[in-house]
Subunit: 335 residues, 4 copies
C-alpha cells in the first residue's frame, strides 16, 4: 500500500482526493492537513461519514508518506512542496506553482516571483497521456490545470502531427466547483443558478499559459483566445475548440490522427463521427470525451472536449499520476 498525505484537504480538490483514496486498492491516506480546520474531522466539514482528523501542516509527519498531494493556492504551494522534497518525499502539486517550466512566464501570469526555481527544473508536467514516460520517474509532478487539460488533450494529437494552425479559439464552460469552496458572490447559488457568466475573457485567464506551453511545443507562435464561462452545474468542463487544420485533411484523416494518439488510452473516449462531447460523457469519471466536427470551409474544424473538472481536471488526474509514479495499474482506483 502506498502511503499518502494531503496538504490542504478541505477544499474541493482535497476532499475529492480523500474520497478517491478511500476507494483506491493500493494507496491509502495516512494524514491530511488543514490550517483553518485542524482538530476537526472531515465529517465536521462535509456531509460525509469520513472521520479523518485534520492536523496542521507543521504537525504532519511528512516522512511517513510515500507521496504527498498539495492542494494549496498558488504561491503558497511552492514553499510547502520544497519542505516535502527536502524531507525526501515525492510530491504531486495541484497548484499552478510547478506547471510552467519558465519561471518568468510564471511570474508574468501569477504576479509573484518563483522562489523555488531549482525545484521547478525537476518538476514534470503531469498531463498523463502526453508525459507518461517522464512522470514514471518523477519526484515532483505538477498536476495540470482543469481548463488546460481539456484543451490540451483535445488538441495535442493534432499539434503533434503538425496539422494544427496557430490560431485557436477555446470557448470553455465550467461548473462552479472549479471556482473552489471559498465564499464569493459569484458562487452564491442565487447569483449563478439560472445564469451563465463569461469571465476573464480577452487573453486574461492564467490557464492560457499552460495551453501555450503544451501546444506551443509543436505549434510555433500559437495564439490562443480562451473564453471561460461559468455555468450552473456543480462539475464538468466543456471546451468548444475552433481550429484551423491542414486543409488537405479529410475527416477520416483527422480521426486517424486521434486514433493513433489515443487508441490505447483508458481515459480518452473518442466519440463516433457526428457526435459531440457533452458534460454527461465524463462527469463523475476520469475520462476526457472528444468529438470531431468539420466545417464547410476546408481546414476549419470544431473539436469538443469534456471532462470532470474535479477528476481528470484535478484530483482524478493526480491519482493517475500517483499510479504512474509508483508503477501501479494506471486505472487503479479510477474506474
Amino acid at each position: 500500500m502506498i502511503k499518502t498525505g494531503i496538504v490542504g484537504a478541505t477544499g474541493y480538490t482535497g476532499y475529492e482526493l480523500t474520497q478517491l483514496l478511500a476507494r483506491h486498492p493500493q494507496a491509502r491516506l495516512v494524514w491530511a492537513t488543514s490550517e483553518s480546520s485542524a482538530g476537526k474531522r472531515i465529517s465536521d466539514l462535509y456531509p460525509s461519514p469520513d472521520d479523518t482528523r485534520l492536523i496542521r501542516f507543521d504537525d504532519a509527519p511528512l516522512a511517513q508518506a510515500d507521496v504527498i498531494f498539495f492542494c494549496l493556492p498558488h504561491a503558497a504551494s511552492m514553499e510547502a512542496v520544497a519542505r516535502a522534497r527536502a524531507a525526501g518525499v515525492r510530491a504531486i502539486d495541484l497548484s499552478a506553482d510547478f506547471r510552467l517550466s519558465d519561471p518568468q512566464v510564471y511570474e508574468r501570469w501569477y504576479a509573484t516571483p518563483h522562489t523555488q526555481t531549482d525545484l521547478l527544473k525537476s518538476a514534470v508536467y503531469g498531463l498523463c497521456e502526453v508525459n507518461r514516460e517522464n512522470i514514471a520517474g518523477a519526484e515532483l509532478v505538477a498536476n495540470p490545470g482543469c481548463y488546460p487539460t481539456s484543451v490540451n488533450l483535445g488538441l495535442w494529437p493534432l499539434a503533434r502531427a503538425g496539422a494544427l494552425g496557430p490560431f485557436i479559439i477555446a470557448d470553455s464552460k465550467s461548473g462552479v466547483s472549479g471556482a473552489g469552496r471559498k465564499l464569493r458572490l459569484g458562487s452564491h447559488f442565487v447569483e449563478i443558478n439560472e445564469n451563465m457568466v463569461p469571465y476573464s475573457i480577452g487573453y486574461a485567464h492564467r490557464h492560457i499559459a499552460e495551453m501555450e506551453m503544451i501546444l506551443g511545443r509543436h505549434v510555433p507562435d500559437v495564439q490562443i483566445t480562451f473564453s471561460p464561462h461559468l455555468i450552473p452545474v456543480n462539475r464538468g468542463i466543456l471546451s468548444t475548440l475552433y481550429v484551423t487544420l491542414d486543409p488537405g485533411l479529410s475527416e477520416q484523416n483527422v480521426r486517424d490522427i486521434y486514433r493513433q494518439a489515443y487508441e490505447h488510452e483508458p481515459f480518452i473516449h473518442l466519440l463516433p463521427s457526428g457526435q459531440t462531447a457533452t458534460l454527461r460523457h465524463t462527469v463523475n469519471t476520469n475520462r476526457v470525451a472528444i468529438g470531431v466536427t468539420p466545417l464547410p470551409r476546408p481546414g476549419q474544424w470544431i473539436i469538443t472536449a469534456s471532462e470532470d473538472n474535479l477528476l481528470k481536471g484535478a484530483s482524478g488526474q493526480a491519482v493517475q499520476n500517483l499510479n504512474l509514479m509508483f508503477g501501479l495499474e494506471e486505472t487503479a482506483g479510477l474506474l
Copy 2:
C-alpha cells in the same frame, strides 16, 4: 405619484422593491440607501441597467418620501423605523421588528430586547387578506415573514371558521433567495445545488412566532411543528400543511370555507379539487396558490400552499400594503 424611499436597497428584497416600483403606475422611488454601497449605483451591484445612486441613511431626505420601506436585518430596523416615524413619514418594515405584538415574545425568539415598544403598539401586521381594514389607516405596517405568509394564508380561513385543530405540521420548502445575499457556505452554489437541506427543525425557527400569533387568535393552544427545508431553486416557498379539522366536514364544506374567505381576493388562487400547489403556480407573481387534499381518516387533511418568497412573501406584499395604505387599486404594479 406616491413618493417612496428604500432603506437597505441592495439585498434581495430591497432590490426586488426597486424593480417593482419601477413598474408601478402610481408610485416611484425617490431615494434608496445602502451603508456598504453608498455612492455606487444599483447597476454596479446587480446585472441591471438601473442607475439609481445609493446614499447613506443619514443622508436620506426622509421627509421627501410619503412612505419608506425598511429592508434591514431585525434589531437594526426598529431604530431606523423610529427615525422615520419621528419625521412623520409612514413606514413599511420588512424586518421582524414590528411583527410580534408582544415584545416579550419578540425578545424570546429574537434574543434582543425591543427598544420601541410604544411604536410597536401602533404597528399593524401587514397580512393583507387578513388585516386589510387596519392596514388602510396604518402609519406603520409590519410586513409579514415569508414562511408565515404561506402558512397563515393557507390556514387562516379554517382557523377563523373554528374548524382547525391545534396540532399543525408545516413542512415547508424554500428557494435560496430566502436566505439572503449574504455569503455563507450553505448558500454556495455547489453546496445547495443537487442537494436539499432541512434546517432549524424542531421548534427552532423564529417564524413560528408569527404563525402562533395569527392562527392562535382563533385556535387556542395552537401547536405548530415547523420544518423549513432549503431546495435548489432561486425563488418560491411550498408549505405542505398537515392539519386536523372538524371531522364532520366534507371536502365541499372545506372548499366553501376557503371560497367564502377568498373568493374576491385578487392574489389567492384556490386550486380545483384534486390539484396541489406547486412553486410554478406562484413564482414571479404576487399570488398564493392553495390546494386542498383529504386523507382517508376523517378530519385529516393536507393543505398545500405556495408563494414567491420575494413577492407575496416579502416585497410584493410590501407593495400591496403600500397600495392599501394609500387607497390605490390593491393590484397596482403587481400584475
Copy 3:
C-alpha cells in the same frame, strides 16, 4: 384597445404571449387556439389562474382580431397566415416561414417548398431595432428567431458601419425552453440537468440563414460558424461572438459605433467597458445586453450578447412589433 388572437397558444411562446397581453395596457386577447387542447382552458395546461378557453383554428373568429400572433411550427404557419391575410387581418408570425426573403434559401434550410411566395414579398422581418420604419406599416411581420436576434443585434452596428469582417464565430448557449414543450429525451430533466450539450454544430442549424441575411446586407460573403449549446436553465441565450474588425479601431471607436446605433433604444443595454453580458442581465426582460471585449491582437474582438429567448427572442419582440405596427409606445406592456 387592440384586439389580438393567438394561433397555437399552448406552447411556450404562445403561453408567454397570453401572459404579456394580460398585462398590456392597450392590447388584449380576444381568442386563442389550440388544435390538441381545444375545449380546455389555459389553467388546465399550465399552473396558472388564466381561464381563457381554447378553440380550434377553424372556429376562430379571425376578423374580430386587429392582429393575430401565429405560434405554429414552420411550414404549418404559412397556410394559416395566408388565411388571416385573406381575411384582411394583420399578422405577426413567430415561425420561420416568412423570415427569409428568398424562398429558395427557405427551401434549402427548411427542406420544404414555400407555398406563399407572394405573401412572402410583403413580409417585413421584425427585428425592431433594425427595421423599425418598415414594421410600422407592415401587414405581415416575421418575428425573428431567438438565436439570430442575439447575434444580429450584437453585431449589426458593426456591420452597418462597415467595420465587421466576414468570418464570424457565434458560440451560443440557450436555455431549454428554446427547444419547446414537445417531449423528447434531450429535454428530459435528468438528461439536461448537470449537463451541457452542443448540438447542430458545423454549419447545420437553420438559424444561420437569418444571420447571413441580416449581416450579409452589409458584409459581403459573410461566413458564420454557429455553435448552439443547450444549458441547464429555463430561459436565456448568451452568444459569445468572435469577430474581426477594422484593425484601426480603438475600444472607444467600437463603443461609439454601438452608442450611435443604440443610444435611444429602450431595450438595448450596452454594458460599460470591462463587463460582459450574462443571462441575468436580460432574463425576464425584453432587453438585449451587449458587452465589448478587445483581444490583444489588433482587430480581434469578443462581443457578448444576451437575451431572454422567450421575450426579446420571441414573444416579447412580437409584442414590441405589435406596438410598432399600431403606433403604440414601443415599450407598452414590456417594462
Copy 4:
C-alpha cells in the same frame, strides 16, 4: 466471478446496474436485454463508452447467468421472473411484483391480479438491513421501492423496539430520476426546474403498501400519511418523518435504539445529535443517512432520512442483495 444478466437495461435503474457491475470485483455482466433497443449498444443510448450490445429477452441465454436482475415495469416483471426461475436461475426483481407478500394487497394497489402467487411465496423482501438472513438463501429477492427504503430504514429500529406510535407522516422529496426515463411533461426540464411538485398525496401512492408491510410487523394498525414531492435534482430522496414515540424516551434512549440496530451496518450513517440528513450525505453512495430531532412536546420526534434513489433506493441495494445471496463481502462493488 458471478455471472449476471439484466432484463430491461436501458432505463435508469438498468443502466445504473451496468455501471455498478462494471466496477464490481466479483461479478460481471454476461448479457443485457432491451425490447425497444435490441441490436443497439448502451453507448448508442447513453453518453457512455459502454459497448455492451443489447439483445431481446427471448434471445437471452438465461442459464448462462448465475443471477438475473429484472428492471421491468410492474406487472410485466412477474412473468419474466417466472421464466428465469423455471430455468433455475436466481432472480433479483426491481419491480413491485414480488414485494408485497399478500397478493390481494398487490392487486388493490397495482390494479392488476398477481399471476405468480406460488413464486410470490418464495420471494424474500430485499431490505438488506432488516432481512439479511433470509436474503442469503433466497432464490428470488424482491428489491424494495425507493421511497419505502428511506422510510422503513429510517423507522424500523423504533418499530422493532416497540417505541413507534401508529400515526406516521412521511413528507418525502425525490429527484426526477425516480420517475424514470419515460417521456412525460412532468419530467420535462422546463416544467420541473425551478419548481417543486407534490404528487399522489392523500393516501394515493403505491409505495405506502411496502411501508405498511414492514412497519406493520411491529406496529399494529400503523397509519401512514405519505406525501411525495418532486424536486429539481437528478438523484436523491429525503424523507422528513413525523412520528410519535413512547413519551418516556430521552434523546439518548432513542439514539441507543438506532445504535443497537445499526452500529455494524456499513451503509447506515447515523448522524450526530443536532444534525439532519441532507441529500448530499448519500447521493452517489449506497448509504442511508439518518438524523434524529426531538420536538418540545414529549413523544414527538422528527426523523430525517436520505438516500440515493438509484443506489440504495434501487440498483445499489440490488447489488447489495447479490452480495448477500452469493456470500460475497456485503460492500463489494459499492464503496
